[in-house]
């Protein structure tokens, strides 16, 4: 029964993807991309990936749609229909599709418990998590403890993207123009829309509480630093959309955002340095406390906090950079 639902959802994603590529109006394409992300999140949930579904919904359908719309507001809105290299593209795609399609017949069927991917390290994760880490969400245990170096790299990637965006469009004036006084260019927000203001006034505190819940409950249920950071950024973005960009910059000033972005990554690295100073390897949480599970959980909570702070700071800094950019 659930296979039929999976097949239905996946067919919908294919249809939506075709519509994204074919849409002439870029606004339509971006909105369809949001729908595509949400359908993928549902497909992930049906494939038992709860954390991934939460992240895809929060980051893919939420934040990335907002960022693409902000970029669209600064650029064109319609695509000029000039297709290039049409014939070559069709041939290349057909050949590649045929080759990969032929290769899929060698794959084990979906859900086969004897597939090679489930054999070597995967059973160990459950037994070691049970003995040494003791948290129910094995995905967070792997993310925070087993593959902690990967997550550190990921936090640095997020920070680097934030730095890059701030370098590119962090100022308010497009290049070559004298920066106009932003007093007369205030983006006013949507305060005069009564329903939006009332609902946002009620929703924003709950979104923030939910962000903190996801952050700290990430060891017992789907959640963790990335989703929490994205949710927190979404709350402030909603505030900025309703109250105007100027007020949202006052709520969390850009200096605080930069401190958050760098501070979270520094916190993560600091945990590693502290473990080294206490005699272990980099990010070896075992040396933080005598009790193994307490030490691991302390380490995971600290680094997840670092991840959440960095992601929230970077996403908000990127949003402010796009929103404050004057139109050329």
């Amino acid at each position: 029964m659930i296979e039929i639902l999976s097949i239905f959802l996946l067919c919908l994603t294919v249809i939506t993807a075709v519509a994204v590529i074919r849409a002439r109006s870029l606004f339509t394409a971006v909105m369809l991309m949001g729908i595509f992300s949400l359908l993928m999140a549902a497909a992930f949930l049906l494939l038992d990936a709860a954390d991934v579904a939460l992240t895809e919904a929060a980051v893919g359908a939420g934040i990335s749609t907002v960022l693409m719309l902000s970029a669209l507001a600064l650029t064109a809105s319609k695509e000029r229909v000039e297709h290039v290299r049409f014939g070559v593209a069709v041939i290349v795609c057909t050949v590649l599709a045929g080759a990969i399609f032929y290769a899929t017949f060698d794959k084990p069927p979906l859900g086969d418990p004897n597939a090679p991917v489930h054999q070597h390290v995967a059973p160990e994760f459950f037994s070691i998590t049970r003995e040494e880490i003791g948290i129910p969400n094995v995905v967070t245990a792997i993310l925070g403890s087993f593959r902690g170096y990967d997550t550190l790299g990921e936090v640095i990637v997020v920070l680097t993207a934030g730095i890059g965006v701030l370098f590119l469009i962090g100022g308010t004036a497009p290049m070559g123009q004298v920066s106009p006084s932003s007093g007369d260019q205030t983006i006013r927000g949507l305060r005069h829309h009564q329903p939006l203001r009332v609902i946002a006034k009620w929703a924003i505190p709950f979104i923030m509480i939910f962000a903190f819940y996801v952050q700290f409950h990430g060891e017992y249920s789907p959640g963790g630093g990335f989703q929490a950071g994205a949710l927190f950024a979404a709350a402030i973005i909603l505030y900025g959309l309703i109250e105007g960009h100027r007020r949202s910059v006052q709520v969390i000033p850009p200096a605080v955002l930069r401190a958050m972005a760098a501070g979270g990554a520094l916190l993560y690295g600091a945990v590693g340095v502290v473990t080294m100073l206490m005699g272990g390897n980099f990010l070896e949480y075992r040396v933080l406390h005598e009790n193994s599970t307490t030490a691991q959980q302390m380490g995971i909570i600290l680094i997840e906090a670092g991840v959440g702070i960095t992601v929230a700071g970077v996403l908000l800094a990127i949003f402010h950079a796009f929103a404050a950019r004057d139109r050329a």
Binding site: E3, S6, L10, V14, V18, I21, L26, V30, M33, M40, A43, L47, D48, A49, V52, T55, V59, S64, L67, M68, A71, L74, T75, A76, E79, R80, A89, C93, A97, I100, F101, T104, F105, P109, L110, G111, P113, V117, H118, F126, P136, N137, V138, V139, L143, T151, E154, V157, V158, A161, V165, L168, P174, M175, P222, G224, F226, V314, F322, A328
Partner: protein
């Protein structure tokens, strides 16, 4: 019927991969290229997550201390979690570049086409 449900996710992966790739190749508008790239990335995520599924399993979160239930493989999910966040980071950087290109060239279609610089 069983072949359809066994391998359907991988076939959808192929189709989505090619749709995204086709979008990046044939569309000259930069935003469309970024959207095609996003679709391409999502197809790869689908491949990994469907490889991790175990039949009769559940999400790899232990409920009520029952460590012996059948769980789906958590490792591909961790990898894809990282990949989603990296994907949106590159998307943000790409969007910033598109904004700067628009300001420099005045358009985001056909930026390779020779045109008299104003």
């Amino acid at each position: 019927m069983s072949a359809l449900t066994d391998l359907f996710h991988y076939w959808v992966f192929v189709v989505l991969l090619m749709i995204g790739f086709y979008g990046v190749m044939t569309r000259s508008n930069l935003m469309k290229k970024l959207l095609g790239l996003s679709i391409f990335q999502s197809a790869v995520f689908l491949l990994f997550i469907s490889m991790g599924k175990v039949e009769g399993g559940t999400a790899p979160i232990v409920l009520d201390g029952n460590w012996d239930a059948t769980f789906s493989n958590p490792l591909p999910q961790v990898l894809i979690l990282t990949a989603i966040v990296v994907g949106i980071s590159t998307l943000a950087l790409g969007l910033a570049l598109v904004v700067r290109i628009k300001e420099a060239y005045g358009r985001i279609d056909d930026i390779d086409a020779p045109e008299a610089e104003s």
